[in-house]
Symmetry: none
Subunit: 226 residues, 2 copies
DNA sequence: CTTAATTATAACATATTCATACAAAAATAA
DNA sequence: TTATTTTTGTATGAATATGTTATAATTAAG
């Protein structure tokens, strides 16, 4: 179930919103105190935030800006006047969407549904890196090729991601290792080799032979030839 | 400031994009007519191109392909349907990145930033040194010549790199040695000679005879004659 | 022309690096 | 829990890059 945080000082309105959203299949959380709003909001880890611009003590623009520093969660700003929207836009606080009070609650619902559908879709599709021979989908931890999909484990994804990011450049074993594991944990140098072999086997089974080349004594390199 | 060309037929969307990108520190250019798109795009000499696949009169795939003939500028293809991506990929038009409409603009921004950072980095690391007779690719530890590639080992690369960096100047054996090995390890003076011979043989087999000249009593020098 | 210093070559030895296979441990799912 | 997947560790062997030694070739000076 998708979670929506309601940040609204009008107690009556926010309770109505909560009930309404819950009736429509969302999990709705109300923020009651605004003295620590940004932290409280982020803590909820919501899918969407409904944020009134006029709040006591603090203001919505600030909260919006602060949230954007930490998260890309979609934010719907609720304004009281039409022209507030223009002011907001010119400030570029990072909110994606706006509604003006008083708003038609059905329209708000449609808006929310649309935003959530969109972000879900785009999140699924954005982190795709085209490597000529295949696409690395970082979000899904898969590689795609000829309409076929290969699932990658955590380590496999990380190694491949690092190689892809440095396509055409030799990356040393040390580099990969420090990318894979925290520098604190002392992991056998050979563990990387093992992971490498497994990744290669997996890739070869998928029809991607010799994608990762060993540069003995220097590291590994991703062949960028198409 | 980095320049982004927006190729999008939806007037509203492209204007929004332009404003948004400009607010985020980019120079955004809109393409208004598409009858001469490829030329117009290339003329802008942009750092990145945002290219809608569905355009009137012409189509994005064609434009992409044409651009690729002239330039390696990163291209983000904007598609309307998910499965369009797969079609695109199978054609291999050379676009590096894709977003599906409707897209979250913050995610798009992050993507752009990531792509530009990456390409900037790789430009910086344009570790290809042109030596008239051959190109030394430090990132790949190879030399290239007439579409042929010769792999170098760590030592070979280091020696050649040092010589190339000092092209046309005599470098003493001591210089090369301290560049090759840590000053701590005491390595036989003749070891350098052996490495030198090996490198020379390798180069000669590759069709690069007498590239490294011995200056008896002084060191070695890379012949820069073209 | 000799001789001594320097550099080159060849053959050999060693050390590093990596791949593979298997086992154990840890994480995750059923 | 148990079962399964994923990750990590260890051992072995092969490949190869590099270092060592010995000997030959080259060069400059006397």
């Amino acid at each position: 179930m998708q979670k929506i945080v309601i940040v609204e000082d009008d107690e009556k309105l926010r309770n109505e919103l909560k009930i309404f959203l819950e009736k429509n299949g969302y999990q709705a959380v109300i923020l009651e105190k605004f003295n620590n709003a940004v932290k409280d909001i982020l803590k909820e880890n919501a899918d969407l935030i409904l944020l009134d611009i006029n709040l006591p003590f603090t203001d919505g623009e600030f909260i919006c800006k602060e949230i954007r520093k930490e998260s890309q969660v979609p934010i719907i700003m609720v304004t009281s006047r039409d022209n507030e929207i223009d002011e907001l836009l010119s400030m570029n606080y990072g909110a994606d969407h706006y509604v003006t009070k008083p708003f038609n609650i059905q329209i708000l619902l449609a808006k929310i549904a649309s935003i959530l559908r969109r972000t879900n879709m785009s999140e699924m599709n954005q982190n795709r890196i085209n490597c000529k021979k295949f696409i690395l989908n970082v979000s899904k931890s898969t590689i795609e090729k000829d309409n076929q999909v290969l699932e990658l484990t955590k380590n496999e994804l990380k190694i491949l991601h690092y190689l892809v990011e440095n396509m055409g450049k030799i990356v040393s074993r040390e580099q990969i290792m420090s990318y894979l594991w925290d520098s604190e944990s002392f992991i056998d140098d050979n563990t990387l080799t093992v992971n490498m072999t497994r990744l290669r086997n997996k890739l070869e089974e998928f029809g991607l032979k010799d994608v990762i080349e060993t540069k003995r004594g220097q590291g590994y390199i991703l062949n960028e030839i198409s």
